[in-house]
């Protein structure tokens, strides 16, 4: 009989809880109502210099620091006319595997150029393993006003050191022209291939029509010949 009061006491907790305010947050419906804390370490971002050049120098220190072996980097030489970062070296391949990353932030501490930082984005789920390996394109910071997309030259008359010292504050018209010229070239090349394809398609179509016409003509003759033969037979009967 001594158990009864204890059970009542236990259920009373349940009972009173029913009248408390609930903590459940509705995700994804209400996610905007509950942004993560500003210091939250979410998806990484590869930053740019103010003129759009990449900050990453491909040093692999982030990969080295990572306890989960989630980062893969390949460095490469900035070729003349194909510059991605100030200085000599840039990160040509950059991948983070979010199936491995534990969002610990050691990588961004290791980064000597502040190229790598972390955003607040936490929605890192998907339906295949491949999709969770983020490539450089997925990680690069968006182009802010004043930036032009690399590859392009450094601001004329500056050195890599000037970039680190913050002396470069935005892209110059020369850089914008360079990028625009490249775009024009790319588009005209695309147009040229498109034209070629169109011409090919037209030629193909013409050929196909010709073949079809020939076939129809052949068929017609055959049918006519058959008919004529039948008629003859019929006539004979």
């Amino acid at each position: 009989m001594a158990e009864l009061p204890q059970a009542v006491r236990g259920f009373s907790t349940t009972f009173f809880t029913m009248f408390r305010k609930v903590n459940t947050e509705q995700y994804p419906e209400d996610k905007d109502k509950y942004p993560p804390k500003p210091a939250f370490h979410g998806r990484h971002q590869l930053n740019r210099h103010p003129d759009g050049l990449e900050k990453c120098v491909g040093c692999e220190l982030c990969a080295w620091a990572c306890p989960a072996d989630a980062i893969y980097v390949e460095g490469a030489d900035n070729e003349e006319g194909e510059r991605h970062s100030p200085g000599e070296r840039y990160g040509a391949v950059y991948q983070i595997n979010y199936l491995r990353c534990i969002l610990c932030g050691l990588c961004i501490e290791a980064c000597p150029t502040r190229a790598l930082t972390m955003t607040n984005e936490y929605e890192l789920a998907d339906n295949s393993r491949e999709k969770l390996i983020y490539e450089k394109d997925d990680l690069l910071a968006p182009l802010m006003p004043g930036m032009v997309p690399p590859p392009h030259s450094m601001v004329a008359g500056t050195t890599a050191k000037d970039y680190y010292d913050g002396k470069v504050t935005g892209s110059t018209p020369a850089q914008a022209d360079e990028v625009a010229a490249r775009e024009v070239e790319k588009v005209s090349a695309q147009a040229a291939t498109a034209d070629e394809r169109l011409a090919d398609a037209a030629a193909n179509e013409e050929a196909a029509i010709k073949v079809a016409q020939e076939r129809v003509a052949n068929d017609r003759e055959e049918v006519l010949a058959d008919l004529a033969a039948d008629e003859k037979k019929g006539g004979a009967q």
Binding site: V57, G58, C59, E60, L61, A63, W64, E74, G75, A76, D77, G87, E88, R89, P112, T113
Partner: protein, 869 residues
């Protein structure tokens, strides 16, 4: 080598020991040992930058300061020899030493840039490491660091970031003391001190890559590896270099199954700590343009991709048609294991002894010499032996160009005064000049004469030659013959004779890495594995037992060598009077039934067939119709232009009914092949080479995920299909089989005694051709290496002053060298050499002797002024 006596038997003189105390521990070391080495023996590591065990001490960096009791100031451990009863305290026990070292490190870092993130050395950098162990965590320096414009090229391959240099002088000492190419030097003083080159003289040394490896910081880097990877990305595999017969141990570093760089592996018996730039930088061929699937020739005559079973069946069917009449050419680039597979395939699956590994100018004389002296003799004369030879006589070899580590050893010994060098050559090459020996000038073809004169010690010898002749009679003297001597008939016989007369050791140095291994594996007509002569029935029985076949199934007569195979293909078969009866099926039957007899009969030279017919009453019964002696070829990695007469080889390929090619890429032979099989390169398999010493140099598989098939595996599949299995699928199994067979222990064949023909005398406007290949040239294993190619030696033609005057040219003008097949035009460098001799590089840009001239050195060619052909 049978004539070899190694010096290892000699008792070494007793070493005088001194005893000192380092950090309270007593250690006895030979007198003269440096403190830093003595400490190493105790496992105490003193930090260092400039110290290198193979370079002379300079105490340039001051990093290794230690306290020596009784000395007022700390002393550099790398430059002070241990004294008896010396009491030494390193940073481990001495505050003074520790403070001194931290002070030095602070000075070094004052001018060192924060380049680690973009520096190739980062992660394996002695400066990084020692800054952690012997440096301060905080810098007190607030001034402006020195900067230099970013890297400058000291050569096309080697880049220098001057601000990273710690002025240790390792690179300059290496260039000066080891390579003998003092093209880099420390210039200026103080903070401006830097490594530099003369303005018009880049650091084009064959050994420049070593400076990158020994630079204790990232000041010297290679254009090839720059920014490719970090040390912690790399998986290292110990390997053996495939570029020459020196047999360097290398370390191959790959990242995700792609080779990124190769380094010299420390091996004090062979390459010490060094290797050459070819071995270090030439590896693009491993991946470029690789053939990935078998190809077979269809009815229209096109090579089309095929499945493996299809290609194997096709090849087997084709080979069955020409059983007993197939020649096998393996080239000199195969591993010992793969060469063995070809040797076994030829004897067992093809029933033929017509096999040769020499894709170059070769002779029967050489083959006899190899069978008598080299095949299956194991480790003979070694690097250590040539270092203490009273004389090393070089004949037909240019060590720096053809076996660079031999050159480094010779130079080391000459500088140390433990050996002397002489060469029988047409001129003193830059490499030979660095070993500072005597050149006994000889026109190509006259080597035998000079060798004979040295042996006879005739009164007509010059003073220099007489002293060489005397030195050759001292114990430990060495004669090194290169593969090139084979081109000049009688040369090898004369060298053998000289060795016999003087008691000098005789060793043979081929150029390619696979030649000695192929010889030991039996890839030469007349020589079964382990150096067993095919004519010896005991030897045949041993091999037959190991191969699990009947002794009678092994050919008993030596087959044709490469030249013979090509000749047989180009010579129409002897026509019998009576046309042969029987249909094709009958013939096939007869061939199968009388395989042994017909093989034996067919082994006679085609020219002898008529005589044989006259002598042998059964002859007609055996040979039913004029049979070509050779009508098929199995070719493993032979580059057409390696052959002394590429055009003849092409014709032979065209003439052959069946050509089976095993290749890593489409390189030329494929144009004539019925089937082409893709095979592994060295990074995709394990195996071994045998270097010129006879030392086995095994290596492991680098690319762990590679799925390509080895030559042995492909041959084994064809052999299975032919129902004559050879079981060579697995390199390890082959190695066990080779080891199980061991070397031949019976009586060796007698070495050749060929008399040299009377040398041709060039008329006016003619000269005798002399030539050898540069280390860095157009060789196919260096294809695609742009930085390496940029450090090649320039292609020039060389004539003596009198010969040049004879055709009216002067220095730097163009000279055209021509034969019936073609010509080569290059600028002239007047050289001290015999008159009537012209030298051109063997396979360099603008000078491909085989392809353009199709003649071997020693032949008379025309020379003319200017660019006209």
């Amino acid at each position: 080598m049978t004539v070899t006596t190694t010096a290892s038997g000699q008792a070494s003189p007793p070493v005088e020991l001194v005893t000192c105390t380092i950090d309270g521990i007593d250690v006895s070391v030979p007198k003269g040992t440096l403190i830093i080495r003595a400490a190493e023996q105790l496992g105490i590591e003193v930090p260092r930058f400039c110290d290198h065990p193979l370079l002379s001490p300079v105490a340039a960096c001051r990093m290794c300061l230690v306290e020596i009791e009784g000395q007022p100031k700390p002393q550099p451990a790398c430059a002070v020899a241990v004294g008896d009863k010396m009491i030494i305290k390193t940073q481990m026990t001495s505050e003074v030493a520790d403070t001194a070292q931290r002070g030095v490190m602070e000075f070094l870092l004052i001018n060192h840039p924060l380049d680690c993130p973009v520096c190739d050395k980062g992660g394996e950098c002695p400066l990084q490491n020692q800054a952690m162990t012997a440096g301060h965590a905080e810098s007190r320096f607030e001034g402006v660091k020195r900067t230099f414009p970013k890297p400058i090229n000291v050569s096309a391959q080697i880049l220098l970031d001057r601000e990273r240099c710690v002025s240790c002088a390792r690179c300059t000492r290496f260039a000066d003391e080891i390579a003998g190419d003092p093209f880099i030097e420390l210039l200026e003083r103080g903070a401006k001190q830097q490594v530099g080159t003369a303005e018009d003289q880049p650091f084009d040394s064959y050994f420049s890559g070593n400076t990158v490896q020994i630079c204790p910081v990232g000041a010297l880097t290679s254009a090839d590896y720059r920014f490719k990877a970090r040390p912690f990305d790399l998986v290292s595999t110990p390997t053996t270099c495939e570029h020459c017969a020196s047999g360097c141990g290398l370390r191959t570093d790959d990242r995700r199954n792609k080779v990124q760089r190769r380094l010299a592996l420390e091996d004090y018996e062979v390459n010490e700590d060094w290797n050459c730039d070819k071995g270090r930088f030439a590896f693009r061929y491993l991946t470029d343009d690789r053939l990935t699937h078998p190809l077979i020739r269809d009815e229209e005559g096109d090579l089309v991709p095929a499945s493996w079973p299809e290609a194997i069946n096709f090849a087997a069917a084709k080979l069955a048609e020409v059983h007993g009449k197939v020649g096998v050419l393996t080239g000199g680039r195969l591993t010992r294991e793969d060469a063995y597979a070809y040797a076994k395939f030829a004897r067992v699956a093809l029933g033929s002894d017509d096999i040769d590994f020499r894709a170059r100018a070769a002779s029967t004389e050489e083959a006899e010499f190899l069978a008598a002296h080299v095949a299956g003799t194991g480790l003979g004369l070694s690097y250590a032996d040539i270092e203490k030879a009273p004389i090393v006589l070089l004949v037909g070899i240019e060590p720096e160009e053809e076996s660079p580590i031999v050159f480094l050893r010779l130079r080391k010994a000459v500088l140390a005064g433990t050996a002397k060098v002489a060469a029988i050559s047409s001129w003193a090459s830059p490499g030979f000049a660095k070993t500072g020996g005597t050149v006994l000038a000889a026109a190509p073809g006259a080597e035998a004469e000079v060798l004979a004169a040295l042996g006879a010690k005739a009164g007509s010898l010059s003073e220099a030659a007489a002293s060489v002749a005397d030195a050759l009679r001292e114990p430990g003297a060495v004669i090194l013959v290169g593969e090139r001597l084979a081109a000049n008939l009688g040369g090898i016989s004369a060298a053998v004779k000289l060795a016999g007369e003087t008691g000098a050791s005789l060793s043979w140095i081929p150029r390619r890495a696979g030649e000695r291994g192929a010889l030991d594996a039996g890839a030469l007509a007349g020589v079964l594995p382990g150096g067993r002569p095919i004519t010896d029935s005991g030897a045949r029985a041993e091999v037959a037992a190991a191969w699990g076949i009947d002794e009678a199934d092994l050919p008993a007569e030596p087959g044709l060598q490469a030249a013979g195979i090509i000749e047989a293909l180009l010579t129409p078969p002897v026509v019998d009077e009576e046309p042969a009866p029987g249909t094709e099926e009958d013939d096939a039957l007869i061939i199968a039934e009388t395989a042994v007899e017909s093989a034996a009969a067919a082994d006679d030279e085609p020219g002898d067939a008529a005589d044989a017919a006259a002598e042998d009453p059964n002859f007609e019964a055996i040979i039913e119709e004029p049979e070509p002696r050779i009508s098929g070829l199995v070719i493993g990695g032979v580059e057409i232009n390696d052959m002394p007469d590429p055009e003849a080889f092409r014709l032979a390929l065209k003439e052959a009914d069946v050509v089976i090619s095993l290749e890593t890429r489409l390189a030329g032979v494929d144009a004539y092949a019925d089937v082409v099989f893709p095979v592994s390169v060295d990074t995709e398999r394990s195996g071994s080479y045998v270097n010129w010493e006879g030392r086995i140099r095994p290596f492991g598989k680098v690319l762990r995920d590679a799925t390509t098939l080895t030559d042995g595996r492909v041959l084994a599949m064809i052999a299975d299909e032919l129902d004559r299995p050879i079981a060579t699928e697995d390199s390890n199994a082959i190695r066990r089989e080779i080891d199980g067979l061991g070397f031949y222990s019976g009586t060796r064949p007698v070495p050749p005694a060929v008399t040299a023909p009377v040398a041709a005398t060039p008329g006016s406007g003619q000269a005798l051709l002399a030539s050898w290949r540069h280390l860095l040239d157009l060789g196919i294993l260096q294809a695609g290496e742009q930085y390496l190619a940029a450090t090649q030696r320039p292609s020039v033609v060389r004539l003596s002053a009198a010969t040049a005057a004879g055709i009216g040219v002067s220095d730097a003008e163009d000279v055209t060298v021509s034969s019936e097949s073609g010509s080569i035009t290059l600028p002239l460098v007047i050289t001290d050499m015999p008159d009537g001799v012209v030298w051109v590089p063997g396979n360099s840009p603008g000078s491909a002797v085989n392809a353009s001239l199709s003649v071997v050195p020693g032949t008379v060619v025309s020379i003319a002024r200017g660019g006209q052909a």
